[in-house]
Symmetry: C2
Subunit: 767 residues, 2 copies
């Protein structure tokens, strides 16, 4: 009612209510724990599980899980033990929040994944894997495959962005990727459904002779952080359905292991009266584990002894057999996992239609290879080492065993049991079951902390259950998945937490100690994050410009709280418009977005980043654009217009009519407000600097940011005063308003800093 | 080692290990609660918060939150108080897990949202709203807007799927949607950035005369569950930037309220030396609340008194003024929320650059309207009612107040305070602050349970914070958002939980009592879920077929554990292929997926659903396809091939060479296994039927499902025996294998049922 109150209130509040908050928020809960437990039906065991997983505000998780996003084509990042999802990373599927597949830079990454010239706008992601140094996760990169369109992606853990996609030069599907060798020399990707190499049609009648499986060892360039297709190579395999792989470690380093099913080479055709694939592919008692010598293969490649087919090195079965690079070992039928123990001495395989886990000894395998002791050859001439000569032990673990994950405790392993819906903990040295735990339901993979490394941490296990069924509130016919957190620190496994997975069906997860990751909070100014270099389209503050090149209009723009420069872009119908935007912010979490009406333009520009959007302005009209990430109180006013003029349009005379006129009185009033606001800011600054704020990195960052905003305020103040001197009170008032806007942004940060100091018990210091 | 063991083990396990599990899993934790609290640094207050939020396995959340997914273009569904995300619902952005934008049926929904013929592959979703009956959430539908491309979507809560997208016929952006009238007669959508109506270019010099805002009342057809554009109407508004709306309730039913900012009608142009939008749009002390009479407007429309423009009813400002449908009331500058109290008697507005919340009285507003008491007119001739004549009270709530949410307690409201990063609880009848709580950080919207209804539940409040900054483990420059759960059941607010939002920046959330929702778990067989009717492409088991129509090949296929029919599809290069798949399953959560190499085909087919994928087979070759949702132990074998033959290809003579030959001995061995397995199944069935399983709906569903699978086993058994009679042991063995596969699926379900009975203390019954 009182208009004066609106202008003054900021001050009152900053000095009054703002300071008085502490007492109100420290009030203690009246309700007792027992009341809550009773009303929510919690047992003592539940309370213990709650205490083991609950993470208070600002707390950190001990491990970060990187989960395949299944058919969503993304990576899911969540914290352990809180099981809170922190981020979906766009990998194979366009995702607008991240601008992935919308800005030119990420479109170029997706374009690398085209199949026969076609854009593929999804992926069926399966197995993520961390880069390693001497078998330990080094926290630098993550790899994941797309089963449907055999591709591999590289994600940089410096900024959690997808940097590269490579398409397999031979396969038509891959299930068994990604797995890395102990120093990330190679990333393994094996085919699944046999198909002809090359893109030509080959009838199914030639399945045995012309359809093939295979295993690609992708060379990874650790310095560039990119896969190097030029120096990668592929093993030709028989048309069995290859499945998962694992790289040897320590004693078995230099070798790789790859499962298979359907070594019957059965081709279904239920529509013609033939029994379906599922019957013909699970008839034999055993399938084959493929054992490959990648170190020796790499030497052959380096020595120029391997030929390129379609531009990629291919080691044929004949060459592999001749050079002693490839062997087969029978394994229980339709296996799912092949998991090498931390010391590299054992390989555990389970047949999913069986109830045993089978432990192979690398010592026995390598002795048989050295002695050339084979029980025969497969139809393609590959030597078969007998199961008897390689097996360490077999253990009855449950019906439908799939995958195994290792504990920090020697000889202890956890196997997922699909049909029985349980996890079996057992000793693979002595061959005995130690514990079993029911899960809900039908577990696929499971993961222990740093479980694929040479030194697993144990502590927690996650069961990746395939069917959630009745575990959560119903959300329609399509259910979430259920990842169950299990405490494995004691002798007995303890179920702690059910986590619904709301998007995609994850296949596998890898988990890393959180403190191994050091993600950036900003980019160097003007950064092309997808190519890891300064963008040719970068712009600095004050250097924004529009450059026409023929029918293409390049807009070099910037974003900062709370305006986009330029605010008006004018082009002509038929022009190609290429907007390049640099986020000038340095502050943590000060991302700006950019969306434009009707042009499918939607960008995410994190601090320092430069991104581009190129489109054809094919229809004259008015296209509003705006910032899509809430960035300050004036976020909604962070807007602009693209004006697409018809061809041959002649501008009429006359300037924009201001909707509102301002006088000297308006100017004086605004200046008064600003001076009062400055006094308040000074008092907040006084509070901060009179405390040990330099001990709080969060506050130091906020102060840095606030100081920058105050600098902008000064610039606006000067402009305002210049106009006032000239008697132009319209512009003087508007710039005085802008000066106040910067003050409000300063106050916002100052208050956040002050609150942080209060909540974290900062102490007064003498200057 | 012992091959016999592989076949026998299933039996041993079913009878042995399977039965003995109970003891192992009931072991009690050794660690004490105190130890855990100490090691994790938890306070007693933390433990209480953990107990208030932790939800044990199988537990249900009390409320379901439906959150805008921001720039992800999706809806996020999560449970309260566990804050676990249950589902992302695809709305404006293609999403492969759900097959959304990949199957023909959902592509048709997305196509409704095209702008000037262009596919728009994202949305900037803002404000979800539930359908209502007499002002209460009825749990049937959800609406949400896309700000960037002014559109509105309808989601059916029966199956959590998007059914319809409508494009606003007049606007170029919308921020203020969706809000529903108390019986879902209309869904409100207001424009944000002023633009010319129609798609032509209009220069900014004509901003005041030709650029316009507006408010659309979309007619909702509750029976069809669809918006009816034919009977919807739009109010023409001045070129102020309209913001949020709310519908009147009870005493104010029939009216709508819409905020605005930038009533200065300022047009920026920082690139030309003009102060930016943010300065010019926040200069005046007040903006305007628009008050619209939708009931009377609807009567005018019904009476044929409103004209259509571009095919849609438009109530011009002149007509609205003349008919008494539109009024303006000054409101504090740059407001963000306009929130009508549960009884409809008050409207709370906050100016985001102010520190007060302003309470307007509907009684006073309606009296002024009746008395035609105005303080003037705006430049467009709209009567202005004075602030003084309408205000009930103003309360100093904190710096940067945005939105308000109502409690179950009379006169109690919670307001989000952006700059101060806090929530203020206050009494809007007496006009006094009751409590304040710091949040982390910079809150935008907030939501109380059923807070927009005529009878809010209170209990919990969620703060939708815009900047998470340091709250979670770092995940790169782009941060998650932070939704904080607050207990509001007592006098003082208690912070319970920090939930990271991993994808998109939500703007608003609505929360409904979970038991109001009754989502389906399956569709009627052969269902087109996007059109809510039987699909013309549906197929029944055994009726699968391939039909050629010119150059188009229609494949009528089915999916069931674990095979796709047909398994081989043959077409000719250049054909258009249209694959129609029906999921034959009835069991809960038995979704099948379907992905095909290189064709961008990726489908999700929930039980009963029929979906289609149409593409051009433009390149001869071999294209594997497979099920992408882990559906049974034989899921990986659920595969097939599309064979695209070159034009003019002549098949060579000769059948497929079997990779493996089977004899009578193989057949006999398989039959023996099957008979043994049947004995085990019978024992599990015996266990189930000897208990009160009919008291457990989950078990009843599993038994129904298992019985069906056993029926399939019988069919395969018959085929097997027929071939054996003819001496064809190749096919006899393969069909016997298929018979066993069905047995394994039966056993899977039987064991799940048995476990459920054991875990839920089923009791023995006498038959």
């Amino acid at each position: 009612m009182n208009k004066k109150a609106i202008n003054k209130s900021a001050l009152v509040l900053l000095m009054g209510v703002g300071l008085g908050l502490g007492a109100a928020s420290s009030a203690v809960a009246q309700q007792t724990l027992d009341d809550v437990m009773k009303s929510r039906g919690l047992t003592q065991k539940d309370l213990l599980a709650a205490a083991k997983t609950y993470t208070p505000t600002g707390g950190r998780d001990e491990y970060l899980a990187f989960s395949s996003g299944g058919q969503s084509g993304q990576i899911i990042v969540y914290g352990i033990p809180s099981m809170r999802i922190l981020k979906y990373i766009a990998v194979f599927t366009p995702e607008p929040w991240q601008g992935y597949g919308f800005d030119d830079e990420s479109k170029a990454v997706l374009a690398q994944g085209r199949i026969m010239g076609k854009d593929i706008l999804y992926g069926d992601t399966h197995h993520p894997a961390f880069s390693e140094t001497e078998g330990e996760y080094n926290g630098r990169y993550l790899f994941i495959n797309d089963k449907a369109n055999p591709r591999l992606a590289v994600i940089d853990l410096h900024d959690f962005e997808t940097k590269q996609i490579v398409v397999n030069p031979f396969f038509r599907s891959d299930h068994g990727g990604a797995f890395v060798t102990p120093n990330t020399e190679y990333v393994m990707e094996s085919s699944q459904y046999a198909a002809p190499y090359g893109t030509d049609f080959v009838p199914l009648e030639e399945f045995n002779t012309k359809y093939r499986g295979g295993l690609t060892y992708w060379k990874f360039d650790d310095k560039k952080g990119r896969i190097d297709p030029e120096h990668s190579f592929t093993f030709e395999f028989p048309p069995y359905s290859q499945d998962l792989s694992d790289a040897g470690k320590k004693v078995s380093n230099g070798w790789g292991f790859t499962n298979s099913f359907c070594s019957e080479r059965y081709v279904g055709g239920i529509e013609r009266g033939r029994p379906p694939f599922e019957a013909g592919c699970s008839q034999k008692d055993t399938d084959f584990m493929h054992v490959t010598n990648w170190k020796k293969a790499a030497e052959l490649v380096a020595a120029g002894k391997v030929k390129k087919v379609n531009g990629a090195y291919l080691i044929t079965m004949d060459q592999a057999v001749k050079e002693g690079l490839l062997y087969l070992i029978p394994e229980p039928k339709s296996p799912h996992g092949v998991d090498v123990s931390p010391d590299g001495a054992y390989i555990i395989v389970s047949g999913k239609l069986d109830s045993h886990a089978w432990v192979y000894s690398w010592e026995k395998i390598s002795k048989a290879i050295a002695a050339k002791k084979f029980e025969g050859k497969d139809p393609y001439g590959i030597p078969i080492i007998s199961m008897k000569d390689t097996l360490h032990t077999q253990v009855q673990v449950g019906l439908g065993p799939l995958h195994s994950q290792y504990d920090s405790k020697k000889c202890v392993v956890y196997t997922s049991i699909y049909v029985d819906s349980m996890v079996t903990k057992w000793d693979y040295c002595k061959g005995k079951v130690l514990d079993q735990l029911h899960i809900h339901y039908n577990i696929g993979h499971l993961v222990s902390m740093e479980g694929d490394s040479v030194s697993p941490d144990g502590k927690y296990l996650i069961a990746l259950n395939k069917l959630a069924i009745d575990r959560f509130n119903p959300v329609g016919p399509l259910h979430p998945q259920n990842h169950q957190l299990i405490d494995i620190s004691g002798d007995k496994m303890q179920l702690l937490y059910d986590m619904p997975v709301p998007l995609g069906e994850p296949h596998y997860v890898v988990a890393i100690k959180a403190d191994k990751l050091k993600p950036a909070i900003r980019y160097k100014s003007g950064w092309n994050s997808r190519e890891d270099k300064r963008s040719v389209w970068r712009t600095r503050a004050g250097r924004e410009k529009v450059v026409r090149e023929g029918n293409t209009v390049h807009v070099y723009g910037t974003l900062i709280r709370s305006h986009i420069t330029p605010e008006i872009i004018e082009v002509t119908e038929g022009d190609t418009v290429s907007i390049h935007l640099t986020n000038l912010e340095r502050a943590q979490d000060e991302t700006h977005g950019f969306a434009m009406y009707g042009q499918n333009v939607n960008l995410s520009i994190e601090p320092g980043k430069t991104v581009s959007a190129t489109f054809k302005a094919d229809k004259a009209g008015v296209y509003p654009y705006y910032c899509t990430e809430f960035c300050s109180a004036l976020h909604l006013e962070m807007q602009g217009y693209l004006l697409v003029r018809p061809k041959g349009y002649k501008a009429k005379a006359g300037a924009i009519q201001e909707g509102q006129k301002y006088t000297k009185a308006d100017y004086d009033k605004q200046v008064k407000t600003n001076l009062d606001t400055q006094a308040v800011i000074n008092s907040v600054v006084g509070f901060i600097t009179s405390h040990n704020y330099k001990d709080f990195p969060t506050v130091v960052a906020l102060v840095e940011d606030a100081t920058e905003q105050l600098g902008f305020a000064d610039e606006a103040k000067k402009k305002s005063e210049e106009y006032a001197t000239k008697g132009d009170y319209q512009n003087a008032t508007l710039w005085a308003g802008q000066w106040w806007q910067y003050q409000v942004k300063t106050a916002d940060m100052g208050l956040r800093a002050k609150t942080h100091l209060e909540e974290n018990r900062a102490v007064k210091v003498s200057k």
